[in-house]
Symmetry: C2
């Protein structure tokens, strides 16, 4: 019995490792089109800014590790170019054909636009050299998703004057005018101009007049062409459709990671939110099931966090506008509070909660602040998984001691405020 | 219609303020036996160590504030000594009688043993002076609850050699041998000797041979005598029995805060865990309901956090031993991980999760580490409120970006490990 995994980054390697744990006799081969496997793509901005010294620091495992320790064959520079499911064969660039019994597609995503981007380890090294060579004074970053925000942060810290252009009116792909305003104001103080509803320069991030450097971070698209050609169903989001066991419509073929869609547990609808955390989880489930298990991945609640100019920004669930579009009757409230007592260094934090008026179910949250954002957004995310109602959320038994927190946790204050407003 | 509240600290003042918001015409009187109201008792260790400069910094509101801004009469140095429910009267020390229609008992708790303790603002100031005057070289702290641990921390930071004696084998009242061992080893490196199963010196914390200073922090007991004499039912825990609306057995009398018991949402049994956070929440519910509302306080999950010698310790739910005693079939697993990538200053953290084998329901967690403890324990606490099963907990969509977290959050690694072990 042979399992082939296409893709050797987050989802693919999680899947292979998990499959091996389930079945010691399975023959497992991972095909990775690039020269390295298992790198932490989320660390790329820190490679560019020098806090990560070398690409090796971001590479967690080597093919040798997988071969020796896990009995998994990992081939780098091995690009799968076609799936011939009738014959249960993968065609690899160069002509080789590889038989499989079970297949996991973990082909990831790629930048939606051309030019200088930050997606692979090579991109990171290239961008770092470019910055050192050109020593730019003015840079343009296109796209205010988390990569765009992190790039703006990294460049600004090097003294570069940054313009951040975003096609929509949103940051982090979140339809939330309040958040957009907050982030723009903060970035302005930090020396980054954020321009919403901007048309990106033609030709992507090539040479743009007025800027010494232009980088495109305007989103990703899933790598689904090969799967689609093989008859694998693509969902409404444009990513591969899978069920909660990570099965595609074709028996024996699974998909996981940035190439696959999942369910948004708040809206109940298919969603495509490519993130390393989700990719790892989907990969584990796909690997377990491809090896005969019955694991399920329930879905996501759209949690995201980013740090820019010293401000932490955390989001999860739906914004009020998104909730309305999804058929809820949302109410929202925002509070500002201190993360802990002033005498122990408390910092201001702002928490917005969104709930459905009809059911009082919590629908989402947005948190901004210099501290405490991670803890707050994780509590909200966990409550969203638990389908918690506001009156239960308000009474959460959260940890308090002055070195850590305020006696009224900011998320509880926001819940009180929202209940007060919602009457 | 007149509401009388006995007690002007956390629960009492939360109740009075909440009642006022519900009913603008209610006549509200708060009786506080001490000279000040509304102080943050949890800040007392930081008053002793100087990070809080003066008692005023811990006093949030004054009686004048309540009178002017909330139209609530707050009397300090007014000790209620009897409740005559037949006449709907409170007898105040000195002989005055005060009529009520609704009564909220928020009489709090007191140290279980005599001698030098740390419970009131006066205690804090007295202890601070004592330390300055005596300049102790060796101190004894009796009791390894959170006050005892914080006192040990504060004294040690002043260069005092501390012996911490605990009657049981547990820290933080948690039946958890692993945690006890971890904390003792950590304290030893920090210069604090933690002795378990120790008999406290007779006479409490008076002069103890071999020590320049002895402080008792061996727990609290609820102030329920006056309530009990008036016919208010005392629960099995020794605190006042209330329902989820904070009603006692006597119509028109509510109780809230450290004098009242509540439900432990994991065990489903009555529990008495006196903490400021819970007191505030119970107070709000009692106040709303005494003013005609229908709020409910569902209960607690036993969350607690403390910092000692740079180590954060967070607990919630039940330990494995406690779970067994409560009729569950617990399994537990502990993992060590990094809070975030090393290149961004990640620190080690240890997470133990406990779940029920029969239902796979999560039952509790213990977290120790120099960083990230607050965020981790709050996720576990929220999941306990949501009655979450391990396989759902394992897939929580928690926030990740390198400045904040690791791609596999430590709590998720612990869940994976526990599922693996539990088979």
């Amino acid at each position: 019995m042979r399992l082939v995994v296409i893709g050797g980054v987050a989802a693919g390697l999680s899947a292979a490792a998990r499959a091996r744990r389930s079945d010691r006799s399975l023959e497992i081969t991972v095909l990775e089109k690039g020269p390295v496997i298992s790198y932490g793509a989320c660390g790329l901005p820190f490679l560019v800014d020098g806090r990560v010294r070398s690409a090796e620091q971001l590479t967690v495992y080597t093919p040798e590790y997988f071969r020796k320790e896990r009995n998994i064959e990992v081939r780098t520079n091995a690009r799968a170019i076609a799936i011939s499911h009738g014959r249960r064969e993968i065609v690899v660039e160069g002509g080789e054909r590889l038989r499989y019994d079970r297949l996991i597609i973990a082909t990831g995503a790629r930048p939606a636009s051309a030019g200088i981007t930050l997606h692979t380890l090579e991109d990171g090294e290239r961008l770092k050299r470019l910055i050192l060579d050109r020593n730019p004074k003015r840079a343009l970053v296109i796209g205010a998703g988390y990569i765009g925000l992190e790039l703006a942060d990294v460049l600004r810290r090097r003294g570069v004057r940054v313009t951040l252009m975003e096609e929509s009116g949103n940051v982090l792909h979140r339809e939330d005018a309040g958040l957009s305003t907050t982030v723009r104001a903060h970035l302005e103080r930090f020396g980054v101009d954020l321009i919403f509803n901007a048309r990106a320069p033609e030709g992507g991030s090539g040479d743009v007049p007025g800027f010494d450097l232009a980088i495109s971070a305007s989103g990703l698209k899933p790598n689904v062409e090969m799967a689609s050609e093989a008859g694998v169903e693509i969902g409404r989001t444009g990513a591969i459709r899978v069920d909660e066991r990570m099965r595609t419509n074709i028996d024996g073929i699974y998909a996981a990671g940035d190439c696959a869609e999942t369910i948004h547990l708040v809206s109940g609808r298919p969603a495509w939110i490519p993130l390393g955390t989700t990719a790892n989880k989907m990969g584990r489930v796909a690997g377990a099931n491809a090896a005969g298990g019955r694991e399920r991945f329930p879905g996501v609640v759209g949690t995201s966090i980013v740090s820019v100019g010293g401000l932490g920004i955390g989001i999860c669930g739906l914004s009020a506008a998104e909730a309305r579009r999804n058929g809820f009757q949302p109410a929202s409230a925002r509070i500002s509070a201190m993360t802990k007592p002033r005498y122990l260094g408390g910092r201001p934090i702002s928490v917005e909660l969104i709930a459905d008026l009809a059911t009082t179910r919590l629908l989402g949250g947005t948190v901004t602040g210099e501290d405490g954002v991670h803890a707050a957004i994780n509590v909200i995310a966990t409550a969203l998984h638990g389908l918690m109602r506001l009156e239960d959320f308000e009474h959460l038994d959260l940890a308090y001691a002055p070195p850590f927190a305020a006696v009224w946790d900011p998320v509880l204050l926001a819940a009180q405020q929202l209940r007060k407003q919602a009457g």
